[in-house]
Symmetry: C3
């Protein structure tokens, strides 16, 4: 039960809520309980879990990452996106989330986000769902 | 086999060793071998694995995070805890640890830590244990 | 199906490609589809996924981590490697990768890296492979 989804980012740095996508993969599995792995097959993007209420949290997270890890910073990689590679490794390529009674086990304020660090681009996310007991 | 535990943090930033809690969930599962997912359902807290010997390692980790990501820093989010949201995404909401012969497979110096970034608060951690072979 | 491998780092900070090691563990499992957990049992090393093409990406990642998290920085831990402990928690102790048709599900440019932050040392990585459906 592995699903692939396409995401279109609109700007260089952007957090896109993918909670519904992961929840749909879980619901579609027919499983009552298990784990969902949400993974990006890219090296300048990432997956994180953070607040799904005030959009300023997303703004502040991207603002701080950009402030500390600007695009130009003595890098050697010729593509000019080494900052995005650094951010990708700091945030991480995946999140693993439990589900129970066909629902993701997330806290009240949590959402799952695709993090774009070198957009705009067409991107993919992979969700693998399985039982775990 | 999903367990929820309550943790009381005492200060704004704090690392609390939860290795014994995760080990108990593993032992209580009755399984010989598998995986344990340790997860926080919060957006201003995190889970990490680091040294479980000299307490100065915890002090130094929190010191450095606070030095680079102070509470006030041009943030927009009105709750005044955007630094905690940033730290939460950098450290991550979960750790996945293998176990074998009913014991967590950790290195000699490793412990599992709940990281509080916006305490003091009553917090929850969720541990899901399952077989994996 | 848990395997342990030995790695020899040559310098204080180094990224070593371990994709082939993880792929071998997957192939050796005989499983068609599942998950592979790649884990370091150390507190001054980490696992990440990043670009497996231009070696400058590795150079730039280590350069930026060293620039922002230098070895000397008001730390208390007497071993002089607190920077390595900080980097270890920021990058993370493990990566979980799906596999299908006996092949790791990685993007075209992705590789799995062992990250040394306090070498040179003899290190271990642990790979646990299991089915997941």
């Amino acid at each position: 039960m592995m699903h692939e989804y396409t995401i279109e980012s609109k700007t260089r740095q952007e957090m896109i809520n993918v909670t519904d996508i992961v929840q749909q993969a879980v619901a579609g599995s027919g499983l009552e309980s298990g784990l969902a792995l949400c993974f990006v097959p890219h090296t300048t993007a990432a997956i994180t879990i953070n607040e799904d209420a005030d959009p300023d949290v997303k703004r502040d997270l991207l603002y701080k990452l950009e402030k500390e890890i600007p695009q130009a910073d003595g890098y050697h990689h010729a593509e000019g996106n080494s900052d995005a590679h650094v951010k990708a490794s700091l945030i991480g390529a995946s999140e693993l989330i439990a589900f129970d009674e066909k629902r993701l086990v997330l806290g009240r304020w949590q959402g799952i986000y695709f993090c774009e660090f070198d957009g705009p681009r067409r991107r993919r996310i992979i969700v693998k769902v399985g039982s775990f007991a």
